[in-house]
Structures are given as structure tokens and as C-alpha cells.
Amino acid sequence: MDKIGIYAVPFVIMFIVVFGAVKKVDLFESFRQGAKDGIGSLISVAPSLIGLVLAVNMLDASGFFDIICSLLSPVCSAVGIPQEVLPLGLIRPVSGSGSYAVLSSILEKYGPDSLIGKTASVMAGSTETTFYAIAVYYGAAGIRKTRYTVPAAIAADLCGIITAVITVRSF
């Protein structure tokens, strides 16, 4: 299973570059433009990321995460989610840069290639900032009631978290 990820990346890159060459795209200029946009969006999230990494670092040093984790550990063990990834599950639906900050602190603490580190990475990769997305999209369209959007989206998120735990543990 681990081999798939290692093979996928070079092949995806090669496929896109070759496809671009066939379609006569100015390859390097397109890459340069895209990478420039990447730098641009990193710089635009930088201030909030710094603020949130600071706050997460403070929470971690204060022992807050340990308290929350041990309080919620009965719930976690009932569902089978390692308690160390809980802070990520809590912040993920509301803030993208906040979840970057929490994920980075988890990876640093337990190691990116540990079971906990892998589970947290998969969780972050397979869920979204649900409440943020709902607010932005409905806000833009002038929708005020959400009907069953939140329960359906939460069902999807929970499923993503549980599958992350199960797949990482079993393969």
C-alpha cells in the first residue's frame, strides 16, 4: 500500500508534463506562473498561520491538549480513534490554517511516520473546513437556512476520520 503513494507522485507529474507538451503548452512558463501563485497564497496565509501556530504552541505547552485528550479518551476509545489526533478533529471543520498548525504540532511531537502522525495526516488530507465552506458558499448565494446540510456534511467528515484511522492501522 505504501508503494502506491511513492509511485503515484512521479507518474502524476510525468503525465501532466507530457500531456502539456503534447498540447503545446509553454511548460516551464506555466510551471513558473503556478509556483508563483503558490508563493502568493502561502504569503497570504502566513500572518494567520503564524498567529495560529503561536496559539497552538501555547496550548500544547500549557498541557491543554493533554487534559482535553484524557477527558475525551473514553469517547475516542469507543469509536477507535487515537486520542492524540483529537485536537485536529476539533479544529479541522472550522479553520484551515488552524488545522495546519495543529497537524504540524502533532507531526513534530509524535513523528510524521508514526501511526499517529500518519493517521493525523490522512485525516487532514481527507476532510475539509466544513463550517467555513458552508458559511462562504451559502453566504455568497444569500442562503440563510441550511436545512440538513450540517448533519450530512458532519456524517461525511466523521466517516473520513474513521476511515483514516482504520486504513492506516490495517495496511
Binding site: I4, G5, I6, A8, V9, V12, I16, V17, F19, G20, K23, V25, F31, R32, Q33, G34, A35, D37, S41, L42, G51, L52, V53, L54, A55, M58, S62, F64, Y100, A101, S104, L107, P112, K118, S121, A124, G125, S126, T127, E128, T130, A135, V136, Y137, A141, I143, K145, T146, Y148, T149, A152, A153, A155, A156, C159, G160, T163, T167, V168, F171
Partner: protein, 198 residues
Amino acid sequence: MLGYIWLFMISASVVCAFMTGRMDNLASAVTEGADKGVKLIISMAGVMCLWTGIMNIAEKSGLTKIISHILSPVLSRIMPDYRPDSKALQAVSANITANILGLGNAATPLGITAMKEMQKNNRLGDKPNSSMIMFVVINTASVQLIPASAAALRQAAGSTDPYVILPYVWISSLCALSIGVAAAMICSRLSGRRKRNG
């Protein structure tokens, strides 16, 4: 919103450190934290730029249009309020394609366009119709080919292989997507039935 979260995080950490007697840890965490934020951005930059660059080639070569074309008939089945060739569904499939390829900057404006187009033919006024809900639920499931930011954070933390998570992310987000779509369909049926009875 983020302001309140931030306020909560900072006050909770001070109260917590005071009660557990970890004030000196907290003080060093403050200086260290700001420094870590900058380091994190710098160490993420390479991987992030690699993918925004590669995916820009995908966009320029028309690959996104092809994927979007393949998706739209599938989408019109789960968003029956709109025709596959409508402006609304075209924006929806362009948004979902951008999400799959990790073109985050393009995805949000496309999603907003999609929502506005869908709202034009929405008979429920300020309530979303079932297709609009379906669209938002699909967006929250985050189906993406390369989870670039998670990979960048793993790289920054010194992972021996940042991309090892790929297949797990694919499986998890597909499961999340199917459950989300199923839940939205079930709720849509239930609310339709309730309306007919009442």
C-alpha cells in the same frame, strides 16, 4: 469567527498553564511559537509551489476541462434540479475538478459562481434546494488527487516519505464522499416526504 477561536486558545492556555504550574513552559512557548510559524511556512513552500506549478500546467493544457466534461453527466444525476449543460452545473463541475487537482485558488471563486447560478433557479428562496446541499456536501468531503498541504507539512516535519499517505487519503475521502452523498440523498427524500404529508 477565527478571532473567537484565537481568544479561546490563548486564554485557555494561560489558565491551563497557571493551574498546572507550567507558566515557564508557556513563556518559552510564546517566543518559540512565532518563530515556528515562520519556519513552517518556509519549509512548506517548496512542496506547495511544486504542486501549484504542476497543476497550472494541467489547467493550461486543458486537462481540467476534460475532467470537468467527464464529471458533469455524473453530477447532473445527483443534482437533478439542473441540466448537465446549464451554467450552474458547468461551474459546479469546474469547481469539483479544481478541488480534485488541488487548485485551491481557483476552486473557491468557481464554487461561489456555482452557488450563485444555482440560486437563480432556486424556488425555495433563502433555503438551499437539494442540489445546492449536495454541492456543499461534496465540497466538504475534499476529494483530491494530491493532498499537497498535508504532504508539505509532513516534509516540513522531516518525514522519510511525505507521500506515503496518498492511497489512504484517496480511500478515506472517497468513503467520506459516498457517505455524504448518501446522507444528503436520504435527507432529501425524507424532507420531500414530510412536505407531501404536511
